[in-house]
Symmetry: D3
Subunit: 319 residues, 6 copies
């Protein structure tokens, strides 16, 4: 396996190149070769993208090594068919678990996780209300949160569906939330606290290893309830946390989807809850739109690929 800065990133592959590099297997399919016997069609990935791959020889042997989620070193050659690249695989070797640097293989935020964390900390420091500030620091100091919030995605597929996507989304929202709370003379502390905590439950709802999947807990209880239970437990452990703040804060979390149909058991009934909901809506739709615009490298096409979150194509010609 090559060192990081000499890696053959998937986005850099060229037709004709012979490769020997490690990738994660995103999917594998055994198909029927017409002249008898099976062949394999797989998808290989790293954090820069995905490429199709085919195995014509040693199918049975190689098939045992290729499995969705596994990291393997692949030897083969890149070809172009039907305007798309594909790798014809000749040899495969499993990479020992302790040699795997997971960050190489998963799609990830384009922003630096440490800078994002720093911005989050600053936003919390600026909270004036001591109860809320103290609560937020306790939250991000919980070891499980401190670990998971650095890597968790914000969703499985709609927007920010990549490593550190949740932190990126959280910081973006809290930054805007502060500005807009000032615009409307609202309680900026409540708004920032609501933004920071609104999707926290996703660190338990989603599991990100090689792909993003829901956990059992996530499917049965949902991130909204998971974070409400967690925050309420922390509050119970704090000294004299005012009940009025507790219920307004929990209300913001319960109402942040804005509508019953979107899974919120409450609708926003305070200006701060309305603002957190609107900023969430804005940031998720805008991210979904910008991700569609940047979804493929073809800078000439006026229209993006179909955006599922927005249910439309996006026009990407700039003035």
């Amino acid at each position: 396996m090559s060192s990081d800065n000499k890696r053959m990133w998937i986005r850099d592959l060229q037709p004709g190149t012979k490769i020997e590099e490690s990738y994660v297997v995103r999917s594998k399919d055994v198909r029927q070769r017409r002249g008898g016997g099976p062949y394999l069609a797989a998808t290989l990935g790293d954090k820069t993208g995905e490429v199709a791959a085919l195995v014509w020889e040693n199918v049975e042997e190689i098939g045992k090594l290729l499995d969705a989620g596994v990291v393997v070193t692949v030897k083969g050659q890149v070809q172009r068919y039907n305007n798309r690249l594909q790798v014809v695989i000749r040899r495969v070797a499993k990479v020992p678990q302790n040699q795997i640097d997971e960050t190489l293989y998963v799609r990830s935020s384009s922003e630096d996780v440490d800078i994002l964390w720093q911005r989050l900390t600053t936003l919390i420091e600026e909270v004036q209300n001591q109860h809320l500030r103290q609560l937020l620091f306790r939250v991000i100091s919980e070891p499980e949160v401190a670990d998971l919030l650095r890597v968790a995605p914000a969703a499985r597929g709609m927007h920010h569906a990549f490593r550190t996507g949740l932190l990126e989304h959280t910081v973006s929202m809290a930054t805007m939330g502060r500005q807009l709370a000032a615009h409307y003379s609202l309680d900026a502390d409540l708004v920032v606290a609501g933004c920071v905590l609104h999707d926290l439950g996703k660190i338990w709802e989603l599991d990100i290893s090689s792909s993003i999947e829901y956990t059992d807990e996530g499917r049965l209880l949902g991130h909204l309830t998971l974070e409400v239970l967690f925050v309420d437990r922390l509050i119970a452990e704090m000294d004299a946390f005012p009940d009025e703040i507790r219920r307004q804060l929990l209300h913001i979390l319960l109402a942040h989807h804005g509508r019953y149909e979107y899974g919120s058991p409450r609708r926003p009934k305070t200006p701060e809850a309305l603002l957190v909901h609107m900023v969430d809506l804005l940031d998720s739709q805008m991210a979904g739109m910008l991700e569609a615009i940047n979804a493929d490298g073809d800078s000439e096409a006026a229209w993006s690929p179909y955006s599922k979150i927005l249910d439309r194509f996006i026009y990407r010609r700039k003035l």
Copy 2:
């Protein structure tokens, strides 16, 4: 004030009767008399019904005593106008708080609260799973629950909107839930636990004094979240409550409205959750329909008054 068994219940009033009896004031309105000066239009109630009342003399004086929610002794005469009875009030006296027996004035379940409580206890005793049985007993042993569950209504207006309505609804559901769990070979313990706890949060969501109103907590957090927080806290205090039971139970509570649009943040994903939801739907719609059928005493009309919960009129002719 007359003793209970000689009370002049509102459903027994006749035109021409002179009365002197205590009632709760459900509403009061000061209106403009055409020849100058105001008069009062009020509604008086007890647990058997409501009647209109008017004050033509001593308006200012009497007006100070009549206030929504207050229990007063009324002296006056019953008249019939426009096919409806009304009381012309001549004198009013406030009843001292310590002499008020609230149960006389609020609409109440037609079932006996002690018998309902006994049936609830029996249903819990029959739960085989020790964790669930123990949890349920702890729940109903909490002093606040033991007090409030005996009086709380199940809703503000749709069905079981009266004193002890929640307990009546809960026992009805748990009884059917046990039968139907057997029909489908499901986990009857989970179903009974789900039925018992599914609306528990309403004891904090609704306030029943003379009328039924939402509490601030109820509006901001909702009964569903209130009971999930409460049950989860009790579970945390128990020894070795299995996590699998916890999450299936909480899931039932979160999913019992069945659909996002109805305020559930999860949809039923286990057969037990589906059954609790369906039994809830059946019991609330059936109660709403039967309440409409019995809503007025006119046994000759083929059709009930309009039922708001069902958005239709009900046919009440029996075979």
Copy 3:
């Protein structure tokens, strides 16, 4: 063709086995072999399940015998590709129509048809109202009904979509309907009659031979109208069937889908109609959920395959 108790049921096939057995052809597709000429991809079925099958040789000849809906004796060998079994067919012979025992090939209720019929008869015997009891017996004594009700499915794909599914669904509903009518002090006879007749029209709406398809009559008129027309004709032939019973019964049939959007031209306006609707909803959703839970043999997966009727995955871990 092997005798019944020695049949090679599809659920018992193993890789490597050589088979010679009769199956129904569920689908056939002619595909293009890359090195020239076509090959055949088919699906074979019996009442225990389905398996893929391929024909590489004598394609034209065998292709004439394989047709969707036909029962054939197949000679070939079982292989495993891509974690699934498939049969490579070498020879095929049509089974003469008079030697076909249809019950071997279609998916079927796991309950015994005679026992279900007995339970149905008992439920009808227990109807107290003589008009309704007599009507129900006339219904199930009509030769067409007596024949078709033993085999008809309850749906094409959502729930009870198999031989005798309609009878299983009908008996399940009537059994619960009786219990719940007692719980609410409703007219149990009307409820049982409504349950027995509510989907009767499906015997004409659906055609079950090798697969389940809608009939022209079914598509143009629908089971609801078909049964209303049929029941009304029987009533017209009876002596002095009370008009009040007739219209309440027909109302139950017209309203059993509960909502206009679900194809009911009336919404339930009597407690008995509401109950029949709710029991139908419960039994169809619960059956759909339990069928999803049992949909594949992999007992380890926590989540079922996707359930179309419920639009979700089902959690199938038991306590």
Copy 4:
């Protein structure tokens, strides 16, 4: 009571006029006079409109004679208050049942019923298909149909909600249906038959005496099912009525509301069924709009009163 051509029609009343004329009582309300005792507020109507009326003296006596639905001779004077006319009643006498000409009191089609009936007959005569033509003639020859179809309204309140409204709507639709069937080369006979029969059940669904109300049968079964049962019974009595025509015709009736949400248990699946549905939609919406435009006499206002069926105001300025 005055003779017909000298009647004091309500639309001709003027302030100051003394009247002595017969009207139907549309509503009566006993209200509270401030200085003691009740007074009566009523609405009087005839086929030309409605007017408010008040009784200040002899309230009890007159109140016994005034009842919704009753025809009475009224003596009194017309006044203008608040820009509206009202009648101050001084004396009332009941009109003997056998002297009542109902047609004077109910809102009625502006078209002549005999001419409409003649147009209907002509449309049926032009049906080429002998089975359909014969069926339609049998339908309108049934004494009950011949009587009721001349007077029935097409609805309670949305459009054509007046005496003979159903016949007016039916003839309008059949006329357009014939034209449009030719435009699209469809089967004009089926279309005309569908138009003639599509709302026939309303003669049993609605009861028109002094006001339009649903019958019990109408509420429980609905006009759509009532006419399908009726037509199917007539067909069963005919010789050799082709089954293909029967099911296409019944399908048109079942599908004429076009959508499940509008109470149709089938959606249009033939071009003829689609056309009948669309012509029904056009005629009911257009009639609703034109009725709104003509709803009050104020020819200067650019906008109509609010139209309930269209949920909007209508612009009535012509070019």
Copy 5:
């Protein structure tokens, strides 16, 4: 009529006060006095609020002067009935049209119109793109726009439904739009132009004299089309306005309601269109919520009056 700073503003009225002041008549109703003859019930308003008023004497004479929309000088006395103030009117005189300062009588933005206009001008000056900047200046230089945009409301009733409400809404949106365009690296010029023009058509859609009403043009064409036609005409008159800018700008206007159901014939397909829509949604919902919170002076109630735009009550307790 008193001078402006000594006016008896409606929000300052006290029971017992004798008044002589000018107000606008918002509504008038002639009602029936029981002892004979009519009386008048009216609503008087100025820019600080509304108050009920009654006329018992000289009804006919005064009735001729009181008409909705007219400004009159009223002489009378303030009373309190049923917890509300009302004015008993004794004399009324019409105020000559040329002495009326309309700004005294209509609800108006709490922000100064000149400052708002200055902020609008500054926002336009900061637009970098010369075509857009020039277009915006031409728009606000059109005499009709310059006049109407200073006074027009943003709606009839939902939010900003008062004098200068449109300008307040426009400046608020453009200010936020600039900030958020920077947050997402979008084209701030397009966003600001979209914000400034998105509701411009309301100056022709709504008519604000004493109350806010739709114009005929507004009802038939709508503000969205009115502004698109207007902007497109101005663009046609400009030199070499780039077509790409034209269509992206018009797209923003057409899409600013975000959804078809909300009356937009296009959905946002560029990031700038999405942002303008989201900022519009935020500003209108937030304004609606804040207006509900401030809707009555009772600062003690935890919950606002019902907010129609949000379909809920708002919690207004601050931390």
Copy 6:
């Protein structure tokens, strides 16, 4: 390339035929041949239909010539596989642009374009109102309109999705509109003008070369706005076009989709606007249904292929 009347139309191809003919390439796909190397799967079309085609030899060379939208001369042989025809291509030559007669290759109205144009002209001549008649003639005299309206389709896929489909739809609607305006005594001139102009914007919204695609302008602005801008510009150039006509006409265009959800920013508020909307709905749904009925040649099947516009299968058995 053969001459027109000897062309080998696609609907006339037979298995075994050797062909040498020009077709348009509707799609091309490079696929993987199992024994190594790629092959091509394409779809060829002309105005009579489509056929699959395969290239096994000279794949690279031929692949460069085959591209979606290109017209080529193809040499090869027709085969039947899996009950469908396919062409095995051996040679391909590009047809020079100047030798291409586009009308040979696109699906086209079955009606003659000149006759349709003549009918359109007649309809306009019969318009009595001189302003409207003059406007309509100016519209169809604009060179761009005169060219495009002869070829434009009415949609991409729902109905009339073929060359000259828009003209066919327009003439059909205007013809019915005239008849129905007379039926309801409406302003036939406005109705005809509305029908002629209602979809005119589609000539700029859709681009029809070899396939039908949306233009950028069409996606961003939509046909409804495009035609409103165009018509308003023409009106501005005319002498004294009455404003009342202008706004009623523009209203018809804005409202012709009938509902917000279908993309109309206004709902019909005049009888003429309602009629144009209903006639549009009728003609598009009826055309969609009739196209489904005629969608394949199999005259024996009782049911059509699935109709996307109607979301159902259509019954096509005639009486």
